[in-house]
């Protein structure tokens, strides 16, 4: 329950920050969504192209409720490492994140966004490693170890932008500070990388997504001032 408590606190904090800036009363109609926005991450395929150890994709969907944007992100990621001494590691898994972004450009007629937000994230993955080592005292060690159907969870603080480029086409990025990771460590092989989170060797890490998005309108919005 602790991650849920964390996200609740963060959301309450963001809401208070947003309401503190709100001087005018808000029409209830403003909370009716103007559209559903779906995005495709460009960083994941770029990373896969630049590095032969990574593959993956990520998509996002959000919806506007006045200045609040409930968001769902889903993805798949895999790693494939080979060390010089013959040790190797590979994993593959799916992940999702759910949270909310708060837009601080509330008066922008195009509903462009500069936002702060929070996420709760969860990953399901399997991994396999071949561990090879030679020790002068204890001798040679060469074993293949597997973990199947593991889960991990973590929290994220996010910030970023969303900009309307042309009609229904949007671009935007999200920078993420990932923390409070929770792994199953009662396993024969310790996890090296969690799909969606990244390397597990540090308690906190960061991430970056750059989305090309399409917004499907559900109601007409007044534009102009």
């Amino acid at each position: 329950m602790r991650p849920f408590n964390n996200i609740l606190l963060i959301l309450i904090g963001l809401s208070q920050l947003a309401f503190a800036q709100q001087k005018d009363s808000v029409d209830a109609k403003a909370f009716i969504p103007t559209g559903i926005r779906a995005g495709w991450d460009l960083v994941s395929p770029a990373r896969a192209e630049l590095s032969n150890t990574f593959k993956g994709f990520e998509a996002s969907v959000d919806i506007d409720l006045y200045r609040y944007y409930p968001t769902i992100e889903i993805g798949n990621a895999g790693r494939n490492y080979l060390s010089e001494n013959g040790s190797s590691y590979e994993n593959d898994g799916n992940y999702w994140r759910v949270g909310i972004d708060v837009n601080f450009m509330k008066k922008d007629p195009e509903k462009n966004m500069f936002f702060l937000g929070a996420r709760y994230a969860r990953s399901s993955y399997s991994e396999e490693a071949r561990i090879v080592t030679t020790d002068p005292l204890w001798g040679d060690y060469d074993q293949v170890l597997q973990n199947n159907n593991l889960t991990a969870s973590w929290m994220e603080l996010t910030t970023g932008m969303r900009i309307k480029v042309w009609k229904i086409l949007w671009l935007g990025y999200t920078a993420r500070f990932k923390f409070a990771k929770n792994l199953d460590d009662n396993v024969n092989l310790l996890t090296t990388d969690v799909p969606g989170y990244g390397a597990t060797d540090r308690p906190n890490t960061w991430g970056f997504s750059y989305y090309v998005m399409v917004k499907l309108p559900v109601r007409k919005v007044k534009t102009g001032i």
Partner: protein, 293 residues
């Protein structure tokens, strides 16, 4: 109002320009950061356990004359000092048995642990993470886990030595202006009338001595060869022997009570405080008698 309306689109455009620029910088930073985000390869496996010796009476570090440290099944002899030994853990098993050979006897310590391999990176290769350290002593010593995670400089296992129950301490004093002040005595050698393991310090310019008493009889004779001036002092200790269990792990031990001492060279005065009595034995030793020439 008019100024506000015309300024708003300008500010938005300015902000959007900055946003686009910052997005490019962030993408480059993300790709560059991915290259730098590699773990250090140094000292990744935490497979060392430090075992320290402590006195069961007060928990303070103890000095033990170690002759060798070995692991059952292996020929290698491992690093040790008089106060601690460092043992490497076997990542192919979940336990090792350590043999500590000391002047006072041999101790056997069984160490158990959890070991989990992990692939670290292409540059570093794999590592083994040790945790949940346990320790027991088939030889009957009191052992305690101080830290359950091996690795680093800290002490992980403490071996608590049962009390040494046969050392009496003398402090050499002299009378100056009716006050008893510290004196030093030049001692060339020390001998006991039984086979004692250790007694220290044994020679030199000494202000105090810890002398062993024989636990098999109620009397012990210690011979001190003094120099400057050269002469021999014979110290005779008489005492009672009492059987009692002070620490359960140590079982019933023989303790000394009602110690009396006499000598042909020294005169003695009992030293008593509110916390200690002169005619009993403590570990570490407390001053039982002041010796005046």
């Amino acid at each position: 109002m008019g100024l506000r309306l015309t300024a708003f689109p300008y500010l938005c455009q300015l902000l959007m320009t900055k946003v686009r620029k910052s997005a490019v910088i962030l993408v480059l930073w993300a790709l560059f950061g991915a290259c730098l985000d590699q773990p250090d390869c140094y000292n990744l496996t935490n497979n060392t356990v430090n075992i320290s010796y402590r006195k069961i009476f007060d928990g303070a570090l103890d000095t033990v004359a170690i002759e060798s440290v070995t692991i059952v099944g292996f020929d290698s002899v491992f690093k040790s000092t008089n106060r601690a030994v460092t043992i490497p853990l076997d990542f192919t098993k979940t336990g090792v048995s350590v043999v500590l050979d000391a002047v006072e006897g041999t101790r056997l310590i069984d160490l158990g642990y959890k070991v989990q391999p992990q692939f670290v990176s292409e540059e570093c290769g794999p590592r083994f993470l040790f945790s949940e350290l346990t320790a027991s002593s088939p030889s009957g010593d009191s052992v305690r886990i101080l830290s359950g995670t091996p690795g680093g400089e800290a002490s992980h296992v403490a071996i608590y030595r049962c009390p040494r129950n046969n050392f009496v301490r003398l402090a050499f004093k002299q009378v100056v202006d009716e006050d008893n002040v510290k004196d030093t005595v030049s001692i060339a050698s020390t001998a006991a009338n039984f086979e004692a393991l250790t007694y220290y310090p044994i020679s030199g310019e000494l202000s105090y001595m810890n002398l062993p008493l024989n636990l098999n009889t109620t009397s012990t004779q210690i011979t001190l060869e003094l120099s400057n001036p050269s002469r021999v002092a014979t110290l005779t200790f008489n005492y009672d022997l009492v059987q009692k269990t002070v620490f359960q792990v140590c079982g019933e031990q023989t303790f000394i009570a009602n110690v009396q001492v006499s000598s042909d060279v020294f005169e003695f005065k009992k030293i008593e405080t509110t916390r200690y009595v002169a005619d009993s034995i403590y570990d570490p030793p407390k001053i039982n008698f002041a010796a005046f020439q």
